[in-house]
């Protein structure tokens, strides 16, 4: 029977807030556009631009048209040249703004990385305590250091001796200190965090320069950013479209010459730049950086962009029951009195005996008695001549001795044994109730008293797992997105089934051992499914490594963090759901802007082609359906629209396309309508409006 395992509650600062916030966040501060300008200008370097084929073509075109504008100077050609350069600059600006947001975070992290000194143990024997003082940067793998209250932990490692409270706010942003202790799943510490109390011995597990903080800085700065598989594929597609349009534009000149209407380089470059997918080409890297940034804002560190994309593809989520699906601990849900006992009397006794029980289960009994039976919680000092018996893991009971009454409450076996010692017959009174509660998946706690040497069993408290608010709806959403949820629990199958049904998961794995988990993951993967899971213990490490997306809790062991490809700084297992959503949102934003970019071309053709050739073939003026003022204003309007749309879409690229979980079909319909149809229509309007303005400018015919 599982009862009363003394364990500090898992801190859950984010769970409800994050669930309410959903994916989103990350608005654009207009000031950032200005401050990022120098960075954007620096990126004009062709060596940097060459990494982005689409924008590189624009830059080359801008160079060419600048040269020709010198030889045949006009207001028109210089206006086009300026806007071509602005197009390149705007693309760089998008990337610079995205990177700029990470830089601010990196600066904060760097402060935590200020050079510290370490007290390294000379002998491997930790007890001797002889230390030498060295620079933290000189620490190597396997070194052992002593850190005492007030000191900064010099490097990533595991606590091998002692227990301490640690302030990890430098990394997690969470000000409440956390407990780190040797052994178990809470042994890892991060360099740059501060010990607040006690003394610990830490064994260093990271090489200098490769510590958690180093990786995090690199990550938020985008320095180590590598293109993700889908991004690479999209880049290939964009590059090939660019080649097609280069061919279409370059071969247009001989046709134009044949038609007796040779075109200037400036006009041809303008046409090319309008056709190649500059919108998505300009925003692609900003979308990727912003996606990683959104994860960081959710306090999740992904070790690679690949993992973030994989998160969007996940088919199966393995979720630990405790902390993810249910609240961390079981809670009292009902009092079941023994025959002949008033329920109020049971509630009163249960509350009295739980006053000294600081475990979450004990607190929940006090709360239930108060909320259901109006029994005010009494402080320890309020009851005269009372002696409180605190809960211990050995006795598995808590209680109170007052006025000659001894009241005890605790694990059914322990309390029933105590009753028998005092001559009572607990099985007759509550045996059936205890069995029924166990069978339903709950935990029975027995309440009994001894008055004047006579033992009475008063009844049973029904403890049960409380499924988190709203989790059922989240799972229903997951199902609509095509994601299967599997609950992992150490409970027996009966208990597991009851909770699985209440939470609405698709499947459960009961009495799960680490081997069972790996076997389940492998089975899913053999069917071609991608699996995501969370874990914190060392025995989770193999499963975390096997899973396609393994999210390690920051509170977990360094083995777990090493094995996973993401770390959740809040140690909140529910976060997995947000991670999946962020992964999807990243892909959706890319797809939507690609569609938008290509759809834009239709209107640009209708602006530019009649402008180029209506002079020689008047019939082509019928294609000028926007009734643009003149050829020059038409071409300039298209170029300016093309440049401005980049700036206009930077906020969307950074924020990501709105994402609401729904089926693939309805999501496609919505996005196709907004970004496909919208992408065809909006430039017609935009170009027409720009034309109305431009036609007023003197010097433009």
């Amino acid at each position: 029977m599982t009862t009363m395992i003394q364990e500090p509650a898992v801190p859950e600062p984010m769970s409800s807030a994050a669930a309410a916030k959903r994916v989103g966040a990350g608005l654009l501060d207009p000031k950032m556009l200005l401050t990022s300008l120098p960075d954007a200008a620096r990126k004009l370097d062709p060596r940097v631009m060459a990494r982005n084929p689409v924008m590189f073509v624009v830059e080359i075109g801008a160079v060419f048209s600048t040269v020709t504008a010198f030889s045949s100077s006009s207001t028109f050609s210089w206006s086009v040249v300026v806007w071509l350069w602005l197009t390149v600059l705007f693309a760089n600006l998008a990337e610079a703004v995205a990177e700029g947001r990470g830089k601010a975070q990196a600066a904060t992290l760097r402060k935590a990385k200020t050079e510290t000194t370490a007290h390294r143990l000379i002998a491997t024997d930790t007890l001797s305590g002889e230390t030498e003082e060295i620079m933290a940067s000189q620490l190597t793998l396997g070194d052992r250091v002593i850190v005492v209250a007030g000191q900064v932990i010099p490097g990533d490692g595991d606590v091998i001796e002692g227990v301490a409270s640690v302030d990890e706010s430098a990394i997690t942003g969470e000000s409440a200190p956390v407990i780190r202790e040797s052994g178990g799943d809470r042994s890892s510490v991060t360099g740059g965090t501060r010990v607040l109390s006690d003394r610990i011995v830490v064994q260093i597990t990271a090489k200098p320069g490769e510590s958690f903080i180093d990786r995090m800085i690199a990550l938020v700065e985008g320095a180590s950013r590598q293109k993700t598989p889908n991004e690479i594929a999209l880049n290939i597609l964009l590059a090939s479209l660019t080649i097609v349009f280069v061919a279409a534009t370059a071969t247009l000149q001989p046709f134009a010459v044949f038609s007796g209407d040779e075109q200037s380089i400036v006009v041809l470059v303008a046409l090319l730049v309008c056709l190649i997918p500059t919108t998505i080409g300009a925003l692609l890297s900003a979308i990727g950086i912003a996606g990683m940034d959104r994860l960081v804002q959710h306090n999740v560190l992904a070790m690679s962009g690949r993992a973030v994309e994989a998160a969007g593809d996940v088919n199966t989520l393995l979720l630990d029951k405790t902390g993810t699906i249910t609240l961390g601990n079981r809670q009292a849900s009902a009092f079941v009195p023994a025959p002949g006992v008033e329920i109020d009397r049971l509630a009163d006794a249960a509350q009295l005996s739980s006053l000294a029980d600081e475990t979450p289960e004990g607190r929940s009994i006090v709360v239930l008695a108060k909320s259901a039976y109006g029994l005010r919680e009494r402080g320890e000092g309020e009851i005269a001549r009372a002696r409180f018996v605190p809960f211990t893991a050995q006795t598995r009971m808590s209680g109170i001795d007052v006025d000659g009454r001894q009241i005890r409450k605790g694990a059914a076996a322990a309390v029933m044994a105590w009753v028998r010692e005092n001559g009572g017959h607990p099985t007759e009174d509550v045996g059936a109730a205890v069995d029924a509660i166990s069978a339903s998946g709950g935990t029975p706690l027995v309440v009994a008293e001894v008055v004047e040497g006579v033992a009475h069993t008063l009844g049973v408290v029904h403890l049960k797992d409380v499924v988190k608010d709203g989790i059922r709806e989240r799972f229903a959403e997951m199902r609509r997105m095509g994601i299967r949820t599997v609950m992992i629990t150490g409970d027996n199958p009966l208990t597991a089934k009851a909770i699985a049904e209440e939470a609405g998961v698709d499947d459960f794995l009961a009495e799960a051992t680490p081997e069972d988990k790996i076997a389940l993951i492998k089975k899913e993967q053999e069917g071609g499914r991608l699996v995501a899971m969370t874990g914190d213990g060392t025995n989770d490490a193999p499963a975390l490594a096997q899973a396609d997306v393994g999210v390690a809790m920051n509170s977990g062991t360094s083995a777990a963090k090493e094995a996973g490809n993401m770390v959740d700084l809040d140690s909140n297992p529910t976060k997995l759901i947000e991670i999946v959503e962020i992964g999807k949102q990243l892909l959706i934003t890319r797809g939507a802007l690609t569609t938008f970019s290509i759809a834009n071309d239709v209107a640009k053709y209708f602006a530019i082609i009649p402008a180029m050739f209506a002079g020689v073939y008047p019939g082509l003026d019928k294609l000028n359906i926007m009734k643009l003022h003149s050829p020059e204003s038409a071409i300039l309007s298209a170029v300016i629209f093309n440049a401005l749309i980049i700036i206009g879409l930077i906020p969307l690229a950074l924020r990501g396309v709105r994402y609401t979980p729904s089926s693939a079909g309805s999501m496609l319909r919505r996005n196709l309508l907004i970004y496909g149809v919208g992408g065809i229509v909006s430039p017609f309007i935009g170009i027409k409006l720009l034309d109305l303005v431009i036609s007023q400018i003197p010097g433009i015919r």
Partner: protein, 552 residues
Amino acid sequence: MSDTTAGLLQAGALIAALALCWRPLGDYMARVVTSEKDLRVERGIYRVIGVDSKSDQRWSVYAASVVAFAFVGVVVLYVIQRVQAHLPLSLGFKGVDPALAFNTAASFVTNTNWQAYSGESTMGHVAQMAGLAVQNFISAAVGIAVAVALIRGFVRSRSDRLGNFWVDTIRIIIRVLLPLSVLAAIALILMGAIQNFSTGTDVTTLLGHHQTITGGPVASQEAIKELGTNGGGFYNANSAHPFENPTALSNWFENFLLLLIPVALTRTFGTMVGDRRQGIALVSVMAALWGTLVVAVTTFEVHHHGTALQAAGAAMEGKETRFGEWASALFAVSTTGTSTGAVNSFHSSFTGLGGGALILNMGLGEISPGGVGSGIYGILVLAIMTVFVAGLMVGRTPEYLHKKITGREIKLVSLYILTMPVIVLVGTGIAMSFATPRASMLNAGPHGLSEVLYSFMSATNNNGSAFAGLSANTPFYNVALGIAMLLGRILPMLFVLGLAGSLGQQQKIPKTPGTLPTHGPLFIGMLIGVAVIVAGLTFFPVLALGPLAEGL
């Protein structure tokens, strides 16, 4: 019966006949390429050419077989033409010029059947039958084999084998193309097409001139010409010639034949991948493109507004009176949409916009419904591209038919999509830049540009129809178009087989509610949009200077 009623009836009957044959023929072809058993005659052939019919090839071996076979085909055909004077039944024709022989060899091996020569005055019976007619079967079978290999890439899981090229090709010839063309030839003979081994009949015309009328095995070549979407006519006038295509009925039947296999292959595809809705989706896209273009071209032809045309009462220049505007437009769209290239009217004489629509139809990449085999693999490549963009928009790594579309697949798809437009545009660009190729144009101005554009579009897409008006039998065009045909055929096939290999090695992934459905109207619409927008954006500028400048 008015022209409109007759036209609508013909189109309606065409769709009904195709719908009727779609299922049995499609399923039959699926059985042919998936069957474990060899026919006795096939076993004999395998023994002669030394092929183990049970051995499966990797994509690279399959591709190497395709290339080697094409190379041998070009060489053999080239030699036959060069030494034709020494062959029996040469009808007294001399050996063909090197450039023309290369062009013709490339043309027939690539299923293009562009004819820079005039059939009845250049080729003897051996060249026509042992050379050209044989390639009519082989090139068609190769196209289907490559398509089948791609479908196997979707069907198979974690396999680097795509089937056996030789087995696929031979089975398709023996079990599909031969029986169907025998039936079709008999039907055509019944409808009045000629079939003989005449060495020419001398007649005296009404004006007293002497004329030699060439006869020959016309009906048999006509059958495979349409069935295999080849298009190489026995006579220069092709299906406008009364010996090839005598009546309105034979015209309708030929139109049916050229659409038959490309359309039925969508069923083969659906059956092989185990989800027939996928085949229906693809055939819907093809039908929508074909139907729209039929309506457009018919409208342009019937509601012409040229003064001369209105004075004449109909845009009948270059059209046969026994077919009329409706059947000519219907045939023109079918032939340009199937990479057949048979013509029953002169596309050059179509109205500016009508001719432009025919060029655009080829510019779609031959998917409406495309050539035998090339149509289905062409539209599958576009479907993958569509799935990629659509898949991103639903937030998953895009997947099509249980296979992930990753960078590798997109690279091959991009190369495929890139190849045709680049060859067409660069080829046309080169031709328009030099005086000699420009001198071949019959017309100045936009119509001249359309003539040259049409020739490169037709050659690269392995269509083979000519716009007429362009004197294409010059060294420049023979060589340039020959290269365009070879590159336009072989390169896409290599990319398709690479794609098949890449897909086949992938593990199949399960379908979930998060998987983008690729059979619904939404996807069909998006695929149509992608096909039109990609082709439209690529060719809009040059079309503007050619047909649009002429027609608007």
